[in-house]
């Protein structure tokens, strides 16, 4: 988990076999807001290196799953474990330290900070400099800044953010902001990356670029991803397995082909569209 500078061979991506132990296990999750059942009986697992997709119409509860995984929401029922560690007992900052990172549906960038600073914040949990060491600068702080700035530079190269290094995040074009958020999430060197509608609001060209970056990330960094989308096309191209949801309840889990041809999934989407 340290940002060493050695190059790593691009790992050839293989679909993980069902025999491998799961990285993440979610059991019977239940989340209510007053009378609204946002999640009910949600059970799934994500394997190492897997790209797991969650689809469903707006309001199906996709973002709520992420908020539970992150510790932002406290579900009333169920369990979430990452490599055996119980995430429900932990706060968001601690969960980040265990290797879960995320992008937000409506962007969660630090708008007044530069691209480099946003990415450096992704390294926050890997760094140690405290208030006093930071004020003193010479010693730990300086060494850490240089070291992690190098890791950040590799993210910049991977996502082609070179033209934007010193620009404030809030001033970037929308598509670049989405990419920067992906960058900040991978700068965290997570085991599990949660992407909440990474192509929402993008035109076709931007969406295709983003899909390419996601594939790049998956191939270069050996990590598991959960991809939330309400459009099916992207998911069908990228995902190893798909879970379809409607009204907070999972309808089915399977390969993209299986899910696509499932009559209940088609009905949920038609129902939401009418």
């Amino acid at each position: 988990m340290t940002g060493t500078v050695e190059p790593m061979e691009a790992a050839h991506h293989e679909r993980p076999g069902p025999s491998e132990p799961s990285l993440l296990e979610v059991q019977d999750l239940g989340l209510r807001f007053g009378g609204v059942k946002a999640l009910d009986g949600v059970t799934f697992d994500v394997r190492r290196g897997e790209l797991f997709a969650v689809i469903g119409p707006n309001g199906a509860g996709k973002t709520s799953i992420f908020n539970c995984l992150n510790g932002v929401y406290r579900p009333q029922r169920g369990s979430i474990t990452l490599e055996g560690a119980d995430l429900l007992r932990k706060g968001p900052a601690e969960i980040a330290g265990l290797g879960v990172s995320r992008t937000f549906q409506n962007l969660g960038l630090f708008e007044n900070l530069s691209v480099v600073d946003n990415l450096m914040l992704g390294r926050h949990h890997l760094m140690r400099t405290g208030f006093l060491a930071g004020m003193a600068w010479w010693g730990r702080a300086k060494g850490e800044e240089v070291h992690h700035r190098e890791s950040v530079e590799r993210v910049i190269e991977l996502l082609e953010l070179e033209p934007f290094r010193t620009q404030p995040a809030g001033k970037l074009p929308y598509g670049v902001q989405k990419r920067l958020e992906l960058g900040r999430a991978i700068a965290m060197e997570p085991k599990l990356l949660l992407l909440d509608e990474p192509v929402a609001g993008m035109n076709l060209e931007e969406s295709e670029d983003m899909a390419r970056y996601i594939l790049d990330v998956r191939d270069r960094l050996n990590l598991a991803m959960i991809l939330v989308e309400h459009q099916m096309a992207l998911v069908m191209d990228l995902a190893d397995r798909v879970m379809a949801m409607d009204f907070g309840v999972p309808i089915t889990v399977g390969t993209p082909e299986q899910v696509q041809s499932d009559q209940r999934v088609v009905d949920a989407y038609l129902g939401a569209a009418s």
Partner: protein, 375 residues
């Protein structure tokens, strides 16, 4: 997971080899080095050329205000926590100065009482922080307003320490390594109280500026700004909100107390009336006028506004409609004029230039970079 390395060895961009260490230098460019040299020369020589006690006192008050404003800007500008309680911590520092440094009290030497007053402010801040910072926005402003009233009550009633309503003398020694800043003589030259304090105060401004600048460009300072910009996202990337909010509050309170200690030692006398809501609002005006969320803005704001009360007091005779003393019938008193000007500046800047003079300065600099090719 590990980030892949895409190149081996030092990063090469075009023809240049890039070293991040060079990027991280505070005074990297030749221009910045020249600027630094100019500031050092000003620091050393201003008291030689500007010997007027009045103008030196304006600069001395401005320097004290700069230290306090750096503290408030760290909390409000960089961490996004609005506090009306800054004057409370300034007051704590002033009385702490008398206690730690007074010859009839602990009688500690200059660096020690400065440090102890700062630490005392920071500790009180760290104790109060966890309660105050559960709240956000306007609620936080109201709770910190409560600190002002609590402070005034304590300052008026703890008579043994504060002298009550009539105030107390602050006669802490201001000497360090044989240099008595209150009565400085060096290389056969004698300097006035105001000259000596100029070097003391602005030396500390330089030190505090460096510390705060380092803080905001490293891990903890970035975390503060992340909390300000988007607290949920900050938590999700691993920033512990409570820790950083309380840390910012403690450092801000410590710097306020340092400013207060200098204030007390400079005036040699303090009374509870000086640490009311008006002082808090003056500090808010300083960071708004200077530039919220910039280190540099805290200092410009203090230079522009820190000496203002003194200036108004001096020139009130020549401002029509201002009553200057007893029996003098005027439209507005000096005190109210002060408040009105600070209030007006807050409103004007919030409406017309919310990013303060620091932003104006950056625009001017950008203009002259292109000069003479600007149109």
């Amino acid at each position: 997971m590990r980030l892949p390395g895409t190149t081996r060895g030092p990063k090469v961009h075009g023809l240049m080899t890039r070293r991040y260490e060079d990027d991280l230098r505070l005074f990297g460019s030749g221009k910045a080095k020249l600027g630094l040299l100019a500031l050092v020369l000003l620091y050393v020589f201003i008291p030689f050329f500007l010997t007027s006690d009045f103008w030196l006192s304006v600069l001395d008050y401005a320097g004290i205000a700069a230290i306090g404003a750096l503290g408030l800007n760290l909390l409000t500008g960089f961490t996004g926590q609005v506090s009306l309680g800054h004057a409370f911590f300034i007051g704590l520092g002033a009385y702490a100065c008398a206690q730690f440094g007074g010859p009839d009290e602990l009688g500690l030497p200059l660096p020690v009482w400065l440090f102890c007053a700062t630490l005392f402010g920071a500790l009180v801040g760290a104790l109060i922080g966890p309660f105050a910072l559960r709240l956000r926005g306007n609620y936080l402003a109201i709770v910190t307003l409560g600190l002002i009233f609590l402070g005034e009550h304590l300052f008026r009633n703890l008579k043994d320490i504060t002298g009550g309503n009539s105030g107390t003398n602050v006669d802490s020694e201001a000497s360090f390594l044989g240099l008595d800043f209150a009565d400085l003589s060096f290389a056969g030259e004698n300097f006035s109280f105001n000259q000596g304090y100029f070097w003391l105060i602005w030396g500390l401004v330089a030190l505090v500026t460096l510390l705060v600048k380092n803080l905001v460009r490293t891990r903890p300072g970035r975390a503060l700004q992340a909390v300000r910009d988007r607290d949920v996202a900050a938590e999700v990337i691993g920033v512990q909100l409570g820790r950083y909010k309380v840390g910012a509050f403690a450092i801000s309170s410590g710097l306020a107390a340092l400013a207060g200690a200098l204030f007390g030692s400079y005036q040699q006398f303090v009374s509870p009336d000086e640490f009311g809501l008006v002082l808090s609002i003056q500090y808010i005006a300083i960071i708004i006028v200077g530039g919220v969320g910039t280190v540099f803005g805290s200092i410009i704001g203090a230079l522009v506004l820190g000496g203002l009360p003194g200036l108004i007091d001096k020139y009130s005779d020549s401002i029509p409609g201002v009553s200057t003393g007893s029996g003098d019938s005027g439209f507005i008193s000096v005190f109210s004029l002060n408040q009105a000007i600070f209030g007006l500046l807050i409103v004007l800047f919030l409406v017309f230039e919310p990013r303060g003079l620091a932003a104006v300065w950056l625009r001017v600099k950008a203009y002259f970079k292109a000069w003479p090719f600007s149109y």
